[in-house]
């Protein structure tokens, strides 16, 4: 008789959905998440489609379902290091990195006040800093602090100040083995590394950011408390350019269309105008791909007099070193003029690269030429953006389907 439990790798919206759906029909589920919190990329959004909800709205209910469900167990700061065995009887090796903060933590925050070291805030894509001991974000689940070992100088101040003895600087990495019947691989995606597109100056010019960074700038729990300010001088933005297909549909980068970036930019254009109704937004595109019923959203945004949709891909971005303003050159194909416009902020609409693009998973999976998972050994299924680029709603559907496949796989034996 085979093992009936299911392993879900990745605790983003897809992994959470698959895990909850499978557990709520009676299966034992393990979630392995590499971050110190659950929620993945969705947690980092300001608002997401289809209803433009803030992420805590959709994630909170999932966290509550996890809390009230004894059949789900999750491990944060954990990664799968090896999978052996076969459908119905997998042996999975898991490595758990030390959090240095134990179950006692009440998230009182006294440790942060005394911590002398700083680290880049990865949750905010490096737009600000946190102390070496930090809460991943305001709505983090589990609501527990964590120490970045690379930044910590082991000064012991947090240990001394903690009123509940929650800090333990001597924690060691742990290894464990799980035995499961089937596996769902839902490790998600990364924004395409825009610094590879040399002529757009990302990583070189401070005011060239990517679309996921703008989500953080617009989020009330972000580095600027939701004000959209220029990274170089903190000035509110007046003129913003969105560069579509930054690295997408490009044989030199990602040859495919991620299908979400056009809507993301249209949505983000509304963020800019909500905060500054006089701002001017330019969206440079090859084609606007607002798929399915989202055509309506496109039509609505298009009619805004302050949003200018320009057919023509940005050819080059340069910086005025004195003002840190950016100059975008583009061929406006409608007016047939060459445009050279100045902007406070340029947002690169980068596409989705599967997490398995750079580093392949330690499991028997099959990939396409771009690193997306297209299949795997019997009993291993992929869900969400590791399979193809998709929006949150599609991820939820895809993850539910994956949960059913994983269940069928264990029932079949």
């Amino acid at each position: 008789m085979g093992n009936k439990s299911i392993l879900v790798v990745g605790g983003g919206i897809s992994g959470l959905t698959a895990a909850i759906e499978a557990s709520e029909v009676g299966y034992e589920v393990f979630i392995i998440e590499k971050n110190p919190y659950l929620g993945g990329r969705v947690a980092q959004m300001n608002q997401y489609f289809p209803k433009l909800c803030p992420p805590n709205c959709g994630l909170e209910i999932n966290f509550r379902r996890i809390k009230s469900n004894p059949r789900i167990r999750f491990l944060t700061l954990a990664e799968v290091t090896g999978v052996s065995g076969q459908e119905g009887d997998f042996e999975v090796k898991v490595k758990i990195h030390p959090r240095y903060v134990n179950e006692n933590c009440t998230a009182c925050g006294k440790c942060v006040e005394v911590c002398p070291e700083e680290r880049k805030n990865t949750f905010n894509y490096g737009l600000d800093k946190t102390r070496a001991i930090y809460l991943p974000h305001l709505f983090a689940f589990p609501m527990k602090y964590v120490i970045d070992a690379a930044a910590c100088s082991k000064c012991n101040k947090c240990v001394e100040v903690c009123p509940v003895n929650a800090v333990d600087l001597n924690m060691e990495p742990k290894e464990m083995t799980l035995r499961v019947g089937s596996i769902i691989w839902a490790t998600g995606w990364n924004p395409y590394d825009a610094s590879r597109i040399g002529y757009y100056g990302f990583g070189q010019y401070q005011n060239v950011i990517n679309n996921v960074m703008l989500e953080r700038l617009a989020a009330s729990n972000g580095p600027t408390q939701g004000k959209i300010l220029r990274p170089s001088d903190g000035k509110p933005v007046e003129r913003v350019a969105f560069v579509q297909c930054a690295g997408s549909r490009d044989e030199n980068h990602l040859p495919y269309c991620s299908g979400v970036c056009c809507l993301a930019s249209l949505k983000q254009a509304t963020y800019v105008l909500e905060r500054n109704p006089d701002a001017q937004v330019y969206i440079y595109f090859i084609d606007i791909r607002a798929l399915g019923k989202f055509e309506d959203f496109y039509a609505k945004v298009k009619d805004n007099a302050n949003i200018h949709l320009i057919k023509g891909k940005a050819g080059d971005i340069t910086e005025d070193p004195a003002t840190k303003d950016l100059i975008v050159v583009v061929e406006d194909q409608e007016t047939q003029k060459l445009m050279k416009e100045k902007f406070d902020l340029v947002v690169l609409a980068t596409g989705m690269a599967p997490a398995t693009r750079e580093v392949k998973a330690p499991a028997d999976l099959v990939y396409d030429e771009n690193g997306f998972v297209v299949g795997g050994a019997p009993g291993i299924y992929s869900a969400g953006c590791v399979s193809r680029p998709m929006d949150v709603a599609s991820c939820v559907e895809d993850a539910t389907a994956a949960a059913l496949k994983a269940i069928q796989s264990t029932v079949g034996r």
């Binding site: 030199n252 980068h253 023509g312 891909k313 050819g315 080059d316 583009v330 194909q333």
Partner: protein, 381 residues
């Protein structure tokens, strides 16, 4: 009415444009091009014209001649559609359109025509040289005795006149194509006033300096100036007798120094172009049409045999001097005869004339506009 040739893209493939259908019209190429203006935009627009089969529109376009193939357009093309190479192919195509003899099209599109034409002119020249040559003096170098100056020079002038007629008649056809309706009503004085544009660009290729990579202009100028110096020396030789002579002047003679400059400049730049096309490092050298090789090989051997002949002459080696001279002529005749009026080298005329015609067009528009204003004044008055 716009006529469409649905087979145009296919036709253009023979001229070197193999990837035009890849383009999805994003405009990256046009945005980064240092040579485009609001009035003259390319390459994206021309990629589109080719895809749509707008052959007639392209025939009457001046823009392909305004592109100097810097290659910036090609570096970041998301479709790897090679817009710079498309513009190059359009120049080849237009050269064949301007040529009324039809030989240009044959040379561009048929390998057999290329090989046969070059071979025919090469061997015919050798045959003529050896049938009409004089005595081969072996005691000392007497080049003029071997190749009597009165024959070589008069045949040369007739050959030159034929080439000039062919090229200029093609330039006239270019004028008809690109000026079209603009030509009407431009007074002769304007043609004369704008001649400066023609002369400056013919002599300097200044527009190429707008390209991001400036070193290319220098290399090109070496070929161009070397060729110009050689051309002048050959033409005045009937009077000066610096080259075709039994009494070679001393090494410090200005005629010899000029010949040395011409040979070395052309040999250096041609060799570098050949290496570039083999290594394919720069965008402009990534793709080579068979006519590009034909041009480079003929030019290289022409210059090389010319230089070698003068070295043999200097060393006092009579027979090698005569035979190398014969070979030199055998390379020169197909080089000039096929390249100048029909293929690559014709751009020495088409490029400056394109800028000249562009100025004429602008003047025509200015005149139309001021006329319009006058008539408006007339109406309101």
């Amino acid at each position: 009415m716009v006529t469409v040739n649905p087979h145009f893209a296919k036709k253009l493939q023979k001229f070197g444009a193999k990837t035009a259908s890849e383009c999805f019209s994003c405009g990256t190429c046009t945005a980064v091009c240092p040579l485009v203006t609001d009035e003259a935009q390319f390459p994206r627009r021309f990629m589109r014209y080719v895809q749509l089969g707008l052959e007639e529109k392209i025939k009457h376009s001046i823009e392909p001649w305004l592109c100097y193939y810097c290659g910036d357009c090609q570096k970041n093309c998301p479709r790897k559609a090679d817009p710079g190479e498309l513009m190059m192919s359009l120049r080849r195509y237009l050269t064949s359109v301007y040529d009324w003899t039809g030989l240009s099209r044959k040379l561009y599109t048929s390998m057999a025509w290329k090989v046969l034409s070059v071979g025919l002119l090469f061997f015919a020249t050798l045959a003529v040289v050896y049938s009409f040559s004089g005595e081969m003096v072996t005691e000392r170098v007497e080049l003029e005795t071997f190749a009597p100056a009165h024959i070589v020079h008069s045949v040369g002038y007739v050959f030159g006149a034929v080439l000039a007629f062919l090229l200029l008649s093609n330039v006239y056809r270019m004028y008809r194509f690109v000026m079209g309706p603009y030509a009407a009503g431009i007074p002769l004085s304007v043609y004369i006033q704008e001649l400066g544009t023609l002369i400056v660009h013919f002599a300097t290729q200044a527009r190429m300096r707008l390209c991001t990579n400036k070193s290319r202009w220098l290399r090109h100028f070496l070929i161009m100036s070397g060729y110009f110096v050689a051309f002048m020396l050959v033409n005045i030789d009937v009077v000066t007798r610096w080259s075709l002579t039994n009494e070679p002047p001393m090494w410090w003679h200005p005629g010899k120094l000029l010949w040395s400059y011409a040979s070395i400049a052309m040999l250096y730049a041609t060799t570098e172009a050949i290496i570039g096309r083999l290594s394919k490092k720069e965008p402009i050298h990534q793709y080579s049409h068979s006519t590009d090789w034909m041009f480079l090989i003929l030019l290289w051997f022409t210059v090389f045999t010319g230089l070698l002949m003068r070295i043999f002459m200097e060393l006092g080696m009579p027979l090698p001097t005569y035979h190398t001279f014969a070979l030199h002529l055998a390379f020169t005749v197909p080089l000039l005869g096929l390249e100048v009026p029909f293929t690559k080298w014709s751009h020495l005329a088409y490029r400056p004339f394109a800028l000249y015609f562009l100025r004429l067009r602008e003047r025509a528009l200015e005149m139309q506009r001021s006329k319009g204003e006058i008539s408006q004044v007339g109406v309101s008055g």
